[in-house]
């Protein structure tokens, strides 16, 4: 129960003013600009866009500045802003085959057409602190090479040719949208993917890791991981045809999973899918593993009772804004609630004492 209590206004105003001062920090240190955050903390910006579910690097950078680097707070700000935007429509499905790949690797085929392109990766670094970064800020010279011509086909299409990979069923062109209707179970794959792609990176990572450690193990290989820009096309109602309305950088992960066959399906490879805004490869790989684990029912697999197979558990706990909203509300005043709890405990104490005295 909540009862309005007055008297906090002045304290609240002063607290927020102090917050603003602390946000700025020591004024003898140069202030951080939004453009600096956007350019130099790009992976934080990407995470805020992915989990805030709104692609706008400038807004995400602003949110990071405002939240003093608390990314969940920044995501909260973006989600709140998002609700104020009129929805102009939905895009055509992005064609990731046409991605201008900054990075594209396969753990299954060494000589895949298009090749293994490492891109700007942390992989193979030694994870030693680089004290040069504390000293100077010069951009190093980057090597270039002749650009290959032709597309970079999806690795999955090669397995598909041999008929060794499970088909992806078609679905409605306008998918269910959890920003428009509350999530109900059982959820369509479209809703599962939407909720995973905006879900908390840490939570999805933990769930994915649990499948690797043996809770609904699904033997995932990364058939392909690609990062790059894709155009976003939308039908323009005034014109009656589709044009590109922009370009987004995405990370896509396709896993291929060993599958011995089930009551309904022949032995084949099955697939998990991750697609996330920005350069967010840990999240995309995690998403693919969890997507695959959640597909046990449609593939006729056994439910072994693993957390990652439990749609309700995964989908209802993946959203860090819902989670933090409920979690953090318990620090707000609950004086009346607690008064009644206190009364109850005192009464039980008195009764217990009376019984004990009577027994003696």
């Amino acid at each position: 129960m909540y009862v309005a209590v007055k008297g906090g206004e002045k304290a609240i105003d002063n607290a927020h003013a102090w917050l603003a001062e602390e946000r700025r920090g020591d004024t003898s240190v140069a202030e951080l600009s939004v453009a600096q955050i956007r350019e130099q903390l790009a992976l934080a910006v990407n995470r805020v866009m992915a989990e805030g579910s709104l692609y706008d690097p400038d807004l995400a950078a602003l949110a990071i500045k405002q939240s003093r680097g608390d990314l969940i707070e920044a995501i909260f700000l973006i989600r709140a802003y998002r609700t104020t935007l009129p929805r102009f429509g939905g895009s055509e499905s992005v064609d990731t085959e046409k991605m201008a790949c900054d990075r594209r690797v396969s753990a299954t085929f060494k000589d895949a057409p298009g090749g293994q392109v490492l891109g700007p990766t942390f992989d193979y670094t030694h994870r030693l602190l680089d004290f040069k970064l504390a000293a100077d800020g010069e951009a190093p010279q980057v090597q270039t090479a002749d650009t290959p011509t032709g597309e970079t086909p999806h690795i999955m299409s090669f397995l598909d040719r041999e008929n060794l990979i499970q088909d992806e069923p078609a679905g409605p062109e306008t998918p269910d949208d959890l920003t428009r209707a509350p999530l109900e179970l059982p959820a369509s794959r479209a809703l599962r993917l939407q909720s995973l792609t905006r879900g908390d990176e840490g939570f999805i990572l933990g769930m994915a890791y649990s499948t690797q450690r043996g809770y609904a193990r699904n033997h995932a290989f990364v058939a392909e991981l690609r990062i790059g820009a894709v155009p976003v096309e939308m039908d323009i109602p005034e014109l009656g045809f589709a044009v590109d309305i922009g370009e987004v950088t995405l990370t896509e992960c396709e896993t291929v999973n060993q599958f011995q066959g089930s009551k309904t399906e022949p032995p084949q490879f099955t697939r998990g899918y991750g697609l996330v805004f920005g350069m967010t490869e840990r999240k995309a790989i995690s998403m693919a593993l969890v997507d695959r684990a959640l597909r046990w029912k449609e593939l006729g697999e056994d439910n072994v009772g693993a957390p990652a197979q439990d749609e309700e558990f995964v989908l209802y706990h993946a959203d860090n804004i819902q989670a933090t909203g409920f979690l953090e509300h318990i620090k707000l005043p609950h004086y009346v609630d607690f008064q009644s709890e206190l009364e109850l405990i005192r009464k039980l104490r008195r009764e217990a004492q009376a019984m004990q005295e009577a027994a003696e």
């Binding site: 706008d56 990731t96 090749g115 490492l118 090597q143 270039t144 479209a190 939308m234 697609l275």
Partner: protein
Amino acid sequence: MAEMNDPNAARKTWMSLLAKSDAGVLADIWAKANILPDFRFLRAPEIGGVMVRGRAGAVGAAFNLGEMTVTRCSVTLGSGAVGHAYVQGRDKKKAEIAAQVDALMQTDLAAQVEATVLAPLRNIAETAKQARAAKAAATKVDFFTMVRGED
């Protein structure tokens, strides 16, 4: 082939180019072009969101990936030509310029707009894309197999 026969192909191309351009760069190029058409708004610039969709497994059922910010605007020129813009981001000026360019491209000024606005814009976009692709190409792995001494 279908795309080549598309009567709207040219318009699609310029609208797409404008939508993806950097707001600051477009404003600079537009100012330099110094074309000042007489226009009025059919729809003043409006900021909104578009739900971006993907496909499960890249080929299967569509799903909602998340939204992106988009600004739209429609103008009409004194000549009656109508221009529309749906452009990425929240820059109202960008949408206003894009709508004017779209309208002008349907008039006698098309060649001038193409040469002074679209061509430089295309050039910048192409150069940026090439530069990135060239850096990616330099990180391509060239595998070679070591001869194993098994004799």
